[in-house]
Amino acid sequence: MSLNDDDVAKQIQHMIAFIQQEAVEKVEEIEAKAEEEFNIEKSRLVSQQRAKIIEYYDKKEKQIELQRKIQHSNLANASRLSILKARDDYVQALKEEARQRLSILTQNRSKYICILANLITQGLLILMEPNIMIKCRQDDYGLVQRLIPDAMRRYQQILQIENINTTIDDNNFLADNIAGGIEFYALEGKIKVSNTIETRLEMIFNQMLPEIRQDLFGINQHRKYYD
């Protein structure tokens, strides 16, 4: 035959070498593939989780910002409110000071007589009733008694009405601590006109409020309408 032992041995060596070579190549291929799949899987997992974590913390950080804004707004509100309250307190203080000054003023006899005379006349003219009951301070009783005839005369003169009767209540009096003035009652107490210094102050003060606020604190820059 053509093949001797040596040739056969060589052939076999070649074949073994070939098998080994193929195995090495296959192993390399597998290892390359392994590495590739490792990387793909790892980065897939990482980026998936990363996205979730980023979203979570972004939301939490937005919450913090929101809290900050809420707090800021609350503080601004509270500040505005306390300033408004302080302003109102000062306006009320003004009213109180006015009342105190009026109290002192009405202790001036001659001034008070003039004021009281006018108040009585005004009360009669407002009511336009034939029978009127007058209530005053206990200390003013005598004074009112003296001023009534003249007031009634003025009433008759202005309205050209003769019929007018007044009585002073000698059982019930106004409080002693008010600045002065009188109250009128007609139709058995069904109609009441209060013409005390306090009620006048109240009325005038309330009507003047916009002016008072402006004179005390300046023109309001935010105001839009003046009519």
Binding site: A23, E31, L102, I126
Partner: protein, 115 residues
């Protein structure tokens, strides 16, 4: 005789090759499993970093909070103080006006009164 030895050598080589390939496959599978645990470790690290970042922001915010409150109340007090000085300087004239108005009484007939 030589033939059988040659064939057995071949068979051995083939078997060895298969073993090598099998081992490579096993390593590959393990590597892919490793991907999970390595990914997990990396993610934990990332998360810890982010958490730290967030905590810093939170602390900052807490600090700002007290500062904001103080500042707001300070400013409010200043404005209220300004109100007081406005009141003091403007009240005299107003008081005079009010008192004059209260004492200025004009008894008049009602405008619709007929006689």
């Amino acid at each position: 005789m030589l033939q059988s030895r040659g064939v057995s050598d071949l068979l051995a080589a083939e078997k060895k090759a298969q073993e090598l390939i099998e081992e490579a496959r096993k390593r590959k599978n393990k590597r892919i499993k490793d991907a999970q645990s390595e990914a997990k470790a990396e993610i934990e690290h990332f998360k810890a970093d982010r958490e730290r970042q967030y905590k810093i922001l939170e602390q900052q915010q807490l600090g700002n909070r007290t500062q904001m409150t103080e500042q707001s109340s300070k400013e409010t007090q200043i404005q209220i103080g300004a109100l007081k000085s406005q009141y003091e300087s403007n009240k005299q004239q107003l008081l005079q006006r009010i008192i004059t108005l209260v004492c200025d009484i004009k008894p008049e007939a009602h405008m619709n009164a007929r006689f």
